[in-house]
């Protein structure tokens, strides 16, 4: 089963998958940089941050 991030470590994405998804969202957000796109641009990093939330703790603990 694919694992995803968050507070529950049992459904975490792989480090590589998360990095790829987050990088894509950051790039999309940068393309929308400008006041006229502020609302839509805001969702991209929010989603990237939600994907990566808490994961790093597991990385630091060596369990990811």
């Amino acid at each position: 089963m694919t694992k995803l991030g968050g507070n529950d470590p049992s459904h975490d994405l792989s480090t590589k998958s998360k990095d790829k998804e987050e990088k894509k969202l950051r790039q999309e957000a940068r393309r929308l940089l400008g006041r006229q796109h502020a609302k839509e641009r805001g969702k991209k990093p929010n989603r990237a941050n939600e994907i990566s939330r808490q994961k790093s703790k597991r990385v630091h603990q060596g369990t990811d």
């Binding site: 529950d8 049992s10 459904h11 987050e22 790039q27 929010n46 989603r47 808490q54």
Partner: protein, 269 residues
């Protein structure tokens, strides 16, 4: 008392919400998932909170019953002072007929503060993950519409979202600050938004997967606020402090920032 279940189909639904583009339908999908992962024993099925969480009971929920939950949210937010946050106007709650938007607002407010209303057993971490998506739905879709319509449920949900964000500070200060930045942004308090984004970034290690996302949030916010010199300094510092594996993307960020500045300057001339 409620029990949280994290079955394979619920995890798959959570993953789908996280990896798909967020549209207005996110709210109803998150509420459905929140309901799906919870159960309670037969004796608690008639309890106030359980009736409120149940989507099939929501339309028939009386304002008077709902005030008990609302009072607890109001009491909680008395400890948190944020500028521009209207207090919960309990007297006006439920004064209008039950539209889908109002039902979503009341249910989201209850779900975001669930741990204050009842005991949560078993997979509480998974509940927190799905609640976090509920927070996103509130910020991006429900709160803006409630504010536009001047609904009393606006202050209820806003205060519930603030409690949820602050409640995360004990175990994940960086994420708590990030959520507060979202709230400040919604309130139009750009100075506090920037301060919260900086706090979130400074509490995040370069090894953290969210490091570059939080960094980008800071410099793009600086540019949005016409603080170009600060944005440039921030990006130069980022270039020095980031990991070798980040260098390529940081360079892309620098290029994109300068493209924005050039475009913005051209538009203003």
């Amino acid at each position: 008392m409620v029990t949280v279940h994290a079955k394979a189909d619920s995890i798959a639904a959570y993953q789908a919400l996280l990896t798909s583009d967020w549209t207005k339908s996110l709210t109803q999908k998150v509420l459905a998932l929140l309901w799906k992962i919870l159960s309670t024993d037969a004796s608690a099925e008639t309890s106030l909170i359980w009736q409120l969480l149940n989507p099939s009971n929501a339309k028939g929920f009386s304002a008077e019953q709902f005030r008990a939950i609302s009072s607890r949210i109001q009491d909680g937010t008395r400890f948190i002072r944020l500028a521009n946050v209207p207090p919960v106007d309990i007297g006006r709650l439920g004064e209008k007929r039950n539209s889908l938007l109002l039902i979503q607002a009341r249910q989201l407010a209850a779900y975001l503060t669930l741990q204050a209303h009842t005991q949560v057993l078993d997979r509480a971490d998974f509940l927190l993950d799905v609640q976090a998506l509920g927070f996103q739905a509130a910020i991006h879709f429900v709160l803006p519409e409630l504010r536009e319509r001047n609904e009393p449920e606006y202050s209820l949900l806003l205060n519930a979202a603030i409690l949820f964000a602050v409640g995360n500070s004990a175990n994940d200060f960086a994420h708590s600050s990030y959520m507060l930045a979202m709230i400040h942004g919604h309130l139009g308090d750009q100075e506090q938004r920037l301060r919260s984004l900086l706090a979130s970034f400074r509490c995040t290690s370069p090894e953290d997967h969210s490091y570059l996302t939080k960094a980008q949030e800071v410099w793009t916010e600086l540019l949005e606020q016409d603080k170009r010199a600060e944005a440039e300094d921030f990006l130069l510092d980022l270039n020095r402090s980031s990991l070798p594996s980040h260098q390529e993307e940081v360079r892309e960020m620098v290029v994109d920032a300068f493209k924005f500045i050039l475009r913005d300057s051209a538009d203003n001339n």
